[in-house]
Every structure is written in structure tokens, then in C-alpha cells.
Assembly symmetry: C2
Homo-oligomer: 295 residues x 2
């Protein structure tokens, strides 16, 4: 008994395997080891939260299918590259990702480094191609570059590195996650929307509020799951925040207040979508999914 | 007694410090350590060969100054990021770059990883901004992404990794360098030209021939210098190809034939520029510089 939302999400997840396969160089292309490793890092799993956001926002603004596929592939490649680099010995030194050996374990460290580098280039390449109007593409490429870089995702990871063993206050923790996870979730929503039309200021503001709320909610729930779930369920090493003495919502607020915060953010996300009415149903359901997920 | 070419090149090199400074986030922006490390990796030295190519090609096609500056900054950021990652322990494990400690030595490995990642994003961000027409920008972003990725620079590095200790034949060595170094040199020429106008097919072909020749020449000369110069002159560790048992033009062809090949490629580059007449003087002189440099 699959709900309409679950059926839609499963379809997007299945489609993304095909879409990502099509937008990655074939495994037979030289250099074959690099291309095999890039495909290993991207294909065959993952919750595809960012592509789901792209498609949900794109549906709201009648975006053409090819532009949504390219946007979804681009954000997922950026996300996958960040995981490959994040797992390396000089960062989190992790052995397990999505239930499989991490890229540097399956291949080697130098290959993992190049896989991440090449996936970032590939994301911009895929987004620069296709039939969308050039001015729309430029806006999307610019937003993606900003979200991925030192004032976005990479910046958040740098703050995270420096936070190990330090007692961050809640506003600092929130700022770190706004960059580290929030920036890419936000740009997923924006790319989906931009693929459909140029946004009015009030539409952009509403989507920003939504994206802010789900971005933070995603991280609060990640912290809750890291503290409460097991590695087999998560498909990655559980309990590593505590093991690495990293500040988390659970360590700062406690478990029950963290659960309450996640629920409040879910409601904030719903509230932000009110101007779009019934048409925003998939975005609302995604907020529910992000807060209520078990892995 | 500076020649007009030398004076022009020195001016571009000096200008690039200002241009790169302007197009990098300030050192005071959060996260400050990451931004300081990004600036350390990019500013204060380097031959700026790629920006020189951008400006020389741009002058030939009357490109606007801001578009040239952005193109030059973008290719130099891609180049700088590749050096930072290349120097890391899992790759070449090098301590010295441009006469200074490498980024992972001056800071730490995790920071070096993020510096490279963030510089790549910044390159695409800088190129996506500015006043150039959107269709031109999209073409340039697409070319840069292709040149940087798995079918360009990253692909060449992957081939290089796998070539250690293997007796590459000359065609394979050439193919590796076409990707590893040639792709980014070629795109430097193309971005400078595209910033001025959409190229005719014959103009594009002529520039491609030129870029192919100087790209290979650059690597042949690099191999010659690695075998013959000292670390102090190079500003990086000399003799490391032989130490790492890497195939080079010198190890395959011998020193004198390598010198003769470099000279032939210089003449090929001049020949390719004939359709552009006297206006291509800076590109010709750059071919001379690349072949006749001592470091």
C-alpha cells in the first residue's frame, strides 16, 4: 500500500539511476578506473533527497523534464563528491557509506581525491548543457557554484573541522549547518524552480524560508539518528559524532528538545509554502519525509 | 632593457595579483582559515602562463577587459587547486611549491583538500558573473568544466597515477599530457578568444593547433627542466620524475631529441598562427617563452 507520495518518490529515485548513468562518462571511457570509481561513488543508492527537492520544486513551476534531470544530476554529483572527500582519512576517515566500502577503501586515496574533483567538474558540465535558455543556465550555474564553495558547503566543512572538541554555542552550530548541508539543499529547491521560470521576489523569499527550515531540520534529524540508530540501518557508521567529540543538536539541546525542534522546523516549512497552495504538496511531503525518516 | 613582450608579460603578472585578490573571498570572511589558505594557494607567485594565454588570445579578438580578467582568474584557480591536491601525501607528497611550503604543510591535509574543492567552485562562480552575454558565458563555463574534468585535467592525472613504474610508449605519454596539462592550456586560449567573439570554425581549428603544440611543448620542457634544473631555480622539487620512476620525454627520447622536439613544437605553434598575421604576436611570443623558459 504505497501512498501517492511514496510512489512518486520511488519513481524519482529509480529515474535518477538512469539519469545519473546517462550524465556520467561511461565506465569504458579512458581513464577507465577513474570513470568506474566515479560511477561507484554516485550510482546504486542514496536517498536522493536533493533530486527529490529539485523535482518537487520543478513540478511547482512547470519546469521542462530535461532541465530538471540536469539540475538533479548536478546537485547529486556535488553531494556525492563531498561525501567521497569527507570520508577520506584526512577528514572523517570512514570505511562505510551507503552500506558499501567508501571510495578510498574500494579503490585508493589518490583515486578518491580525483573522483571528487572530477565529479565537481562534471556537475557544472551537465548543468551547462541542454536546451534551457542561456540566461537561466548562467543563474543556475552561479547559484550552484556559490552553494558548493567556500561561502557554502566547503565553508561549512571547514567550520566543522575546526569545531571538533570545541563547545559551540547553538547559533554557531546552526550557522555551520546552514553552510555545510543547508546551502546545497537550498540550491536544490532553487534550481528546480529556476528551471521552470524566473522567480518573483516573494516566491524566492518563500522558497528560501522553506529551504532554510528543511536544511536545518535535515541536520537536526541527522544528529538524532547518529545518536539513536545503528550503523546497519544508517548504511554508515553511527555514533561517530560522539566518538569524534563533535558538537551536535543532541549534545547541546538533549534528545527530546531536538525532536521538538525538528517538528517545529517541519511546521515552519509547511507554513512557508502557504502562498503556493495545494500545488506545493510534494515539497510539503518532502519536509515530512526529512523529519520523519529513520535513516 | 625589457622587451615589449617582457614588459607586457610583467604587467599581466602584476595585474593578476590584483585580479585574483579581487575575485577571491577576503581573508577576513568566515571561515577565515579556509579563506586564508585559499589565498595562500593562489596569490604571490607562479608564472601565470594560463592567464598570459587568456590575455594574448583575448587581445587578438578584442575581448572586454572584465571578461578576460574573469577568464584568467578562473583558469588560474583551477590550476592552483590542481597543484594543491597534486601535492598532497596521497598524490605526489610534495613539501615545496613556488618556493614556499605546500598548502598541506603550511596548514593541514584536511584544509588542503577543502582549499582545492573550494577553489574549483570559485572558478566557476567567477566565470558565471560579470557583464558578458549569457550565451557566451555558458559556452565558456562548459569548455572550462570539460577541460577540468575526467575527460581533461583530472583524467590526465588519473592516467599519470597509473603510469608510475610502467613503460609508457610515446603516444600514450603524449595522450596523458594532452589531458593533464594540455586541456587547461587549450581552454585558456579558447576562453580568451570566446570572451571577444564567437569563433569561426577555421579560427577555432587554428587556435586548437596552436594550443595543442604549446600544451605538449610545455610538458616536454617541464620534463627537460625536471631532469636538468635544480630545486631552487624551479621553486619546486627537481628530479622527482626519475625518483618516482615516472615516464618522461627525457626518459623515453633522451635529452637532445627532447630539446629538438620542443623546438619543433614551437615552430608548429608559430605556423598555426599564420592566418591571424601580425596581430597574433603575443601568442607567438608566448610559445617562445614556454619553450625557452628556465623554470
Amino acid at each position: 500500500m504505497s501512498t501517492p507520495f511514496a510512489a512518486w518518490a520511488e519513481q524519482v529515485q529509480a529515474d535518477m539511476e538512469v539519469v545519473l548513468d546517462r550524465h556520467l562518462p561511461p565506465a569504458s571511457a579512458l581513464p577507465t578506473k577513474l570513470h568506474q570509481a566515479m560511477r561507484y561513488a554516485v550510482l546504486g543508492g542514496g536517498k536522493r533527497v536533493r533530486p527529490l527537492l529539485v523535482f518537487a520544486a520543478g513540478t511547482l513551476f512547470d519546469a521542462p523534464r530535461d532541465a530538471l534531470e540536469r539540475s538533479a544530476a548536478a546537485v547529486e554529483m556535488i553531494h556525492a563528491y563531498s561525501l567521497v572527500h569527507d570520508d577520506m582519512p584526512c577528514m572523517d576517515d570512514d570505511d562505510l557509506r551507503r552500506g558499501k566500502p567508501t571510495v578510498h577503501r574500494q579503490f585508493d586515496e589518490a583515486t578518491a581525491l580525483l573522483v571528487g574533483d572530477a565529479l565537481q567538474s562534471q556537475a557544472f558540465l551537465v548543468l551547462s548543457q541542454g536546451a534551457l535558455a542561456p540566461d537561466r543556465k548562467v543563474a543556475m550555474l552561479s547559484q550552484l557554484a556559490h552553494a558548493a564553495g567556500s561561502l557554502g558547503m566547503c565553508g561549512g566543512q571547514a567550520v566543522d573541522l575546526d569545531a571538533v572538541g570545541i563547545a559551540l554555542a547553538l547559533p554557531e552550530l546552526e550557522q555551520m549547518h546552514r553552510l555545510k548541508t543547508g546551502a546545497l539543499l537550498r540550491v536544490s529547491v532553487l534550481l528546480g524552480a529556476y528551471a521552470g521560470k524566473a522567480l518573483q521576489a516573494d516566491e524566492q523569499a518563500a522558497l528560501d524560508s522553506y529551504a532554510d527550515a528543511i536544511g536545518l531540520a535535515f541536520q537536526v534529524v541527522d544528529d538524532i539518528l547518529d545518536a539513536t540508530a545503528d550503523s546497519a540501518t544508517l548504511g554508515k557508521t553511527a555514533g561517530k559524532d560522539a566518538a569524534h567529540n563533535k558538537p551536535t543538536y543532541v549534545s547541546i539541546l538533549g534528545l527530546q528538545p531536538s525532536l521538538a525542534l525538528a517538528e517545529k522546523l517541519r511546521q515552519d516549512a509547511h507554513h512557508a509554502l502557504q502562498p503556493f497552495g495545494e500545488a506545493a504538496i510534494r515539497l510539503r511531503e518532502l519536509a515530512d519525509l526529512i523529519v520523519q525518516r529513520k535513516a
